[in-house]
Amino acid sequence: MCTTCGCGSGEVQIEGHDHHHHGGRQDIHYGTGPAHAHAPGLSQSRMVEIEKSILGKNDEYAQENRRYFTDNGILTLNLVSSPGSGKTTLLTRTINDLKENLSLSVIEGDQQTTHDAERIRETGVSAVQINTGKGCHLDAHMVGHAMENLSPEKGSVLFVENVGNLVCPAAFDLGEAHKVVILSVTEGEDKPLKYPDMFFAADIMLLNKIDLLPYLEFEVAKCIEYARRVNPDIQVLQVSATSGEGLEDWYEWIKTTRQTRLIGRSDILSKENNLQKLVSV
């Protein structure tokens, strides 16, 4: 499994992206040419200062993605959670409620199957599925490739639904504006302490399935306290994708965050204002 380029292992599949070529590893042959010949006894071992981040390559791809998102005024949200937290249900509901007013698109990450992307496409919004094969997370390189097939509109909102995993996706920057961690109340209130890296990396936590609270022993205040122990800045919204409770807050957060990032972007905003005028006429 390769961190920054899924292509090498043959495990990663991006819908609509059949193949591509890399000049990377396979082109480097050490010691084959005369200039690279290693003469025993002649060279002395030396120390080479590297000081490079292990995830440096991923971070470079992430920066490229981020530049693209910023240039095009796209708000990218990286949705992370454990499997079964209700991410896809929350996402489809969000899309159905917002698609009239906002341009939306989705990148779906799963180990296998295109089920989730199909669920998203049923809402009429474009979606690309990335299957990571044996991989436990999406990386910035995969997202970059998915963008080639998706080409989201300027000023739109892009949701990236990461692989259901509360561990690995925390370390991989995709170039997103915010990580949104979704925790369902069926999971136990101490998840933020058990998986602190994810709650530290996220800017906002959605506490999902709150319609089930009457049937569970789940202390909401305790859960929020645990999350803030790990990350004092984390914002918390309580929602239910099934009953719709609290979703208005979530939508407001998306709209406000998008709007804030578009301040000063008259190229995108003026177009929208013109469109709105047309609609009201």
Binding site: T3, T4, F200
Partner: protein, 113 residues
């Protein structure tokens, strides 16, 4: 976590450096790994051997410097040592801590031929 892919990342950096700095054998790889980085050292050591097989770093010895975690306590206005992200300040028990080190994951240096 994902120690296998981290090792793939290490190998990519080594191979790029091998080309740039003209070396053909890596004898030692020195990493800085923070205690908050989420890296399981024993899993990393295992994966390292597997991933480096057949590369310039096939025979390399892996040396890991474990970096302790420090945080700035807002209440004490002092730097304190912590072991986990959710730890309270050892002096005042406040959770208003800003982690300042301990999440490192980097290749410090290579000993090469």
């Amino acid at each position: 976590m994902h120690e296998m892919s981290l090792c793939e990342g290490i190998l990519q950096v080594i191979e790029a450096e091998a080309q740039k700095q003209q070396f053909t054998e890596v004898k030692q790889v020195v990493l800085d790994i923070g205690v908050l980085s989420g890296v399981e050292i024993s899993a990393l050591e295992f994966a390292f051997e597997v991933v480096m097989y057949g590369s310039v770093a096939e025979k390399a010895i892996l040396k890991i410097n474990e970096i302790e975690a420090q945080a700035w306590c807002m209440s004490c206005a002092e730097t304190v040592m912590i072991n986990q992200r959710y730890d309270a300040c050892p002096n005042c028990e406040s959770y208003q801590l800003q982690v300042s080190s301990g999440d490192e994951m980097k290749i410090k240096e290579l000993e090469v031929n």
